[in-house]
């Protein structure tokens, strides 16, 4: 049961992708 419930929870699986994109974008802007 626990796994089925976990599977229904909306969790942030791809944060690192956006965090990287954000970092690169603002590093470029900073330059």
């Amino acid at each position: 049961m626990a796994l089925e419930i976990l599977a229904q929870e909306k969790v942030w699986l791809d944060k690192s992708k956006y965090a990287d994109a954000e970092r690169m974008f603002y590093e470029k802007q900073s330059k």
């Binding site: 942030w12 791809d14 944060k15 992708k17 956006y18 994109a21 954000e22 970092r23 690169m24 974008f25 603002y26 590093e27 802007q29 900073s30 330059k31």
Partner: protein, 215 residues
């Protein structure tokens, strides 16, 4: 409440949360003009203070170091901004968490592909758009009978939620999309046009036309 130096790149909506909270609280928080993102936060003496090299990062006048924008916003805030009763304080924390845990993931997944900052993937953008509709729907119902999110005046809840919505209203929420959410639009407009907020983020420009996704 603490005063000191904030390290961040410009136009960082997380840093806005701190700077707006500081201005409302009367605490003296200055952005370090010499900070260069990608350079300063990789240098030895920065990493000694902030081992993860993340921004915004805060250094108080008493050399106390702090990261995580919500924690910094609380640190520079007056009691007034945190809610008055224990339950109001809890609601302020509920909304600051809601901004970080629910609004930001949806905002990233819609705004960044639209600005070509992140890869475009139709199904995840469509899901993000549905999530944003759910968030605006919830806030719209909640704000039907309220001027501010918690209590009778502006708190960190309004500041945190408004800052987490900035990129959405600026880049992708066009007039047609936001039409059904009149209470949120009124509330958001009230916040971004507060003189204290305008001092920090300047005149807010709403999105008129959502950027087309270049596949």
């Amino acid at each position: 409440m603490a005063s000191g130096t904030l390290y961040t790149y410009s136009n960082n909506f997380r840093a806005y949360k701190v700077l707006i909270a500081a201005k409302y609280s009367g605490s003296d928080v200055k952005v370090d003009p010499a900070f260069e993102f990608g350079v300063t936060n990789k240098q030895e003496n920065f990493l000694k203070k902030f081992p993860q090299g993340k921004v915004p990062a805060f250094e108080s006048q008493n050399n106390q170091y702090l990261t995580e924008s919500t924690a910094i916003a609380y640190f520079v805030s007056s009691e007034k901004l945190k809610g008055s009763s224990p339950y109001e304080k809890a609601l302020v924390q509920q909304f600051t968490s809601f901004a970080d845990n629910e609004i930001l993931p949806a905002s990233y997944a819609w705004v960044y592909p639209s600005l070509s900052i992140a890869q475009f993937n139709k199904s995840s953008v469509d899901r993000a758009i549905e999530d944003v509709k759910g968030i605006l729907e919830y806030l719209n119902n909640y704000l039907l009978t309220r001027t501010y999110l918690v209590g009778e005046r502006i708190t960190l809840a309004d500041i945190a939620v408004a800052c987490s919505l900035l990129q959405l209203y600026q880049h992708v929420i066009n007039p047609e999309f936001k039409q059904p959410y009149t209470n949120v639009n009124r509330w958001f407009d009230t916040i971004v046009n507060q003189p204290t907020v305008v001092d920090v983020i300047g005149k807010f420009e709403y999105c008129q036309k959502t950027a087309e996704f270049n596949q």
